[in-house]
Symmetry: C2
Subunit: 622 residues, 2 copies
């Protein structure tokens, strides 16, 4: 393996925080128009330059008077004053109020000279047409008048530096006539992708060459913007390391901070090292944290540099933990109060790697309204962990084991995160997947019927989707049920003339099976048993895939002669189908969760089973 320079010891998470926050990535302040400053942060104090209001202002529709003229007025014995004019909002008064007179006035209008109060129109009536007004109440000087500067006076402190600008601050800035707002600059963050295997989403992949879509660039760019930075993508063309070096240099010239996410290729790391050695300093290499150990921190000329790990979950976790706070700080955004919830662990988890662990977890609300927490670990590099998790539990380097039932604190991915309305675990079924479209904020872990039963025993899911002959070993209430036709998916036209399960063994077909967690697999095994076919005689019986459509796709690609699957999948992909039977699919509810709103929403969404089965060949309402 390539010889890499390594820092002798891993830095502690605290050291990593310190090093990252020592990087100065704050840009110069700037000025933006009032209608474009929402979400920005004031760079300096704003003192009022004018009085608001700028004049003594009527705060009611009514009549401007001298308060002394209303003394003694009452409903029974009103004071009557001649009306000598009218003042509208937005107009200069063309009349003064002398003693013993009144002037009609609109809300917001300038109090005419001589007047010191306004009597609301509701406390008056007209006499003698409109020429005289009867006042049914006495008023004091200043009544129903907002004095010039009463709201905010010229010279007063209006808003302080560091204030995040919301619609409310925009209101005050508008009132003060501030059309150009001095704000903290937005740190520019270059995101350089490294990795020979990366292909831009939208372009097609060559799976055989190990190509994958570039996940980190887009994810990290979005996270940069969420933290208040401006992301600039520097896509890197294939395996051209000169090009990568040029991109890194360009990003360092243009940006306050450069991020790259780890590459699996040693050569890419070498390029990063080369640029850092030539133009900057390497401040840190490696942090005692999992995921994220291979983090790099340094300087590239005038820019700061952080190298993130390569796996998306690791990259985003390290970004959130170490880099996002630095971007927020640079953008002048007040550190958001970290949103946390506490909950009970639904599973025990073993650790003991001597590193702080940031464990992605999902949440579910139990029947008593308490939060249950379960680790989400679909293996390194799983992108679905990104959306199947709700937050992270930080586990101490010293902690070897967290027991089921233990209380843990979860740092949510954002303060808006809530547990899913309904957590469903079990069989991967296309009808169920569609029904969820009618439920707001569901979560569906299609990990197989047996996995669903096992998690139900642990008390985790609200709902289990079960297919096949197996029965749950914990109590569950049936919400609804349907059947789906299953059999062998074969190439279009059924070129091998497969007629049923016995051909699998007899005709030496290349078969592809489902994993043992799948209810459909259990249905197949029962059928093989019934027909007396020996599984070990089937070539490919041990070749298993997890998801319902995968065997059919392998047949479509020519990677198998026959696959275990559904008529619906064969129809969708235009393949041949040899029916074997119909199996029931049951939606089962954890009895303790029957009252959850999300379970009710799912029940509603499943009410029209007839409509749902109509779209899927081979499905029937049972």
């Amino acid at each position: 393996m390539t010889d890499r320079k390594e820092f002798r010891d891993l830095a502690s998470p605290e050291e990593a925080h310190e090093v990252v926050s020592s990087l100065d990535i704050a840009p110069e302040p700037e000025t933006v128009p009032l209608d474009d400053c929402r979400g920005r942060v004031l760079a300096e104090r704003v003192d009022a330059g004018i009085d608001v209001p700028g004049f003594d202002r009527a705060s009611m529709d009514g009549y401007a008077v001298r308060a002394a003229d209303t003394v003694g007025a009452s409903e029974r014995d009103p004071v009557v004053l001649p009306r000598v004019g009218t003042v509208h909002a937005g107009a200069a008064p063309d009349v003064d109020v002398e003693s013993g007179e009144c002037v009609e006035i609109s809300t917001g209008a300038v109090l005419p000279a001589g007047a010191d109060a306004v009597v609301p129109v509701e406390r008056t009536h007209e006499v003698d047409g409109e020429s005289e007004i009867a006042f049914e109440t006495a008023v004091a000087p200043g009544d129903s008048v907002m004095a010039a500067g009463a709201d905010v006076a010229a010279g007063e402190r209006a808003l302080g530096p560091g204030t995040e600008i919301t619609p409310r601050e925009i209101g005050l800035l508008s009132a003060l006539g501030v059309a150009e707002v001095p704000v903290r600059g937005t740190p520019t963050v270059g995101v350089v992708s490294t990795g020979d295997e990366l292909v831009r989403p939208g372009d097609s992949l060559d799976h055989r060459a190990g190509e994958i879509h570039d996940v980190n660039s887009y994810t990290i760019a979005a996270a940069v913007e969420e933290a208040g930075g401006e992301a600039v993508l520097y896509p890197h063309a294939g395996d051209d390391y000169d090009e990568l070096e040029r991109q890194l240099r360009a990003a360092a010239d243009d940006c306050d901070l450069v991020l790259s996410s780890g590459s699996t290729s040693a050569s890419a790391v070498d390029v990063v090292y080369r640029v850092i050695e030539e133009r900057g300093d390497l401040l840190l290499h490696g942090v005692s944290i999992k995921p994220g150990k291979p983090m790099l921190v340094g300087r590239l000329g005038g820019a700061a540099y952080v190298g993130l790990p390569g796996y998306p979950v690791s990259a985003l976790t390290i970004f959130r933990t170490f880099v996002a706070p630095a971007i927020r700080e640079a953008a002048g955004r007040p550190e958001r109060e970290r949103a946390t919830v506490t909950g009970r662990l639904a599973d025990g988890e073993r650790y003991g790697q001597g590193r702080t662990r940031l464990m992605p977890v999902g949440l579910v609300t139990d029947g008593a309204g308490e939060t249950l927490v379960y680790p989400v670990d679909k293996g390194s590099g799983a992108t679905t962990s990104l959306v199947d998790a709700d937050g992270v539990v930080e586990v101490d380097a010293d902690t070897d084991y967290l027991a089921s039932g233990e209380t843990v604190t979860v740092e949510l991915f954002s303060p808006d995160v809530r547990p899913p309305a309904v957590l469903c675990i079990g069989e991967d079924d296309p009808l169920f997947a569609r029904a969820l479209d009618g439920v707001r904020s569901p979560r569906y872990l299609a990990a197989g019927t047996r996995t669903g039963f096992r998690r139900l025993r642990d008390g985790l899911p609200d709902v289990v989707v079960a297919a096949g002959p197996d029965e749950p070993d914990a109590s569950a209430e049936k919400l609804t049920t349907w059947t789906r036709e299953w059999g062998l998916v074969v190439p279009a036209g059924n070129p091998a003339d497969v007629s049923g399960l016995t051909d699998l063994a007899d005709a030496d077909l290349g078969f592809v099976n489902r994993t043992t967690a799948s209810g459909l697999r259990a249905t197949l095994d029962a059928a093989l048993d019934d027909t007396g076919v020996d599984p070990t005689a089937i070539r490919g019986y041990e070749r298993t895939v997890r998801a319902h459509e995968s065997p059919a796709r392998m047949v479509a690609r020519g990677d198998a002669d026959a696959g275990l699957g559904l008529r619906a999948s064969a129809a969708k992909l235009g393949l041949g189908f040899v029916p074997v039977g119909a199996e029931r699919v049951r939606v089962l509810v954890n009895p303790e969760r029957a009252e959850k709103a999300g379970v009710g929403a799912l029940d509603d969404a499943l009410a029209d089973i007839a409509g749902l089965v109509a779209d899927l060949p081979g499905y029937e309402d049972a």
Copy 2:
């Protein structure tokens, strides 16, 4: 007054919610590029179109083997296999693994044909140069391999409709190669300003003509965007009602929703009525809520229409209460969990107007960490209420009185809102205002020394700023103190040759005083008493303004001959100054709050008194 059509009865808040949510303002879904979809909401389900990963993938750096070949391997008794090639990430394997062979493989690379597991490099060592590898552990099939589709398989449900797109969803969409994302449309909301008196911020005001800046257009536009809409401003030129009508029609043609905020002019309401009558329906006029009674709801051709009240606080409150939820719904944004806090009322409040009241309140954390709530009511039309309040308490129409100490629930203006770090009430002092620049998230209500003392007695503020001779009637700890030189601010060059307080009475000058809450006013009164000047002999003694710089500004405008003020103000405005004395300013801490972090931050910010006084003429460190 103009005759206006009125709906007979005010609608209840519930009816208003129903009417607004019955307006259909949801635009068509659209498609946006992956790098521009953060914060949008998925319009439809996204099923995986490809397997992720698309191939069996090494999840460690190491050696691809047939697991069966490693049976029995251990550190003491390793199995040695010849290395027949290398596979890098992003490259098609150019070698198969036959029984008894191994191939070097990088993380992320395609598992070569024949291999079924990877042995991590850490569990191996090279023998005989690099040509043979010793394996120190046995592995099982699938070890350190992520199978094709293990993350997400083609045909699986990946994301549901209604999902808000965060960086995490962007990660999954990237992995699936979804470059164009189907999202809910953004409702277009036209904001039409009405009101003859409105002037765009940045343009200058004619105070004498009662002009004010247009606050609502910018505030509401920002609030529309915060709720997930796109705001379009339709500024209305002056008092041209044909123009207003054209703007309303244009907005109705172009937008999903049209908002106008109430005008003080009856003619504007008439225009709205005319357009509604011709092209739509009026569905509601008037809601039994305060503030907000004059709300209008209707249809203008294809667009919905809501008329908001005219005062900024009322307009924003009604917008937040009734309109923002409809915009969120139309944008497909999950209703944010309303952020609320509970706290004790610091004041009693009397109501009893038979309308639901949305009372703006401020928050402060007391010494025990509990939240105190106080009403913010600076009078109708105050824009500073926007930023001095943290949320709203909804008070029932039946509630006549809320007692001090009662527990209330505050709906925060946003989930991010926190009580200020330190709440300061008292004298308006420019040095203190500057010192606050060094404190994150302070609040300073410059309501005068006496107001500060009164609120301290109620237990409200953390800190009181006191000037003048008065002493607090509740215990308080002195944080720091300084002196400021005060006297009479006169026109530049002192044309009336004022020499001191006695001239105020003797020379018949037009004076302008500060309000009685001001400590400087108390200092003046004491000085008048000392010098034997009769206040009633001073013309303008009763003419009072609230803020420290206001008398000086009136002198500068020629509205007064002399004003009570500070040398610092005279210097700032280039005016003359007749010194009378120096008064002390004290920063006093509520003893129960001495440990608050914000009080400590203020203490730090005030530590460099010498530096702070140096910038202000007439200020001295005491």
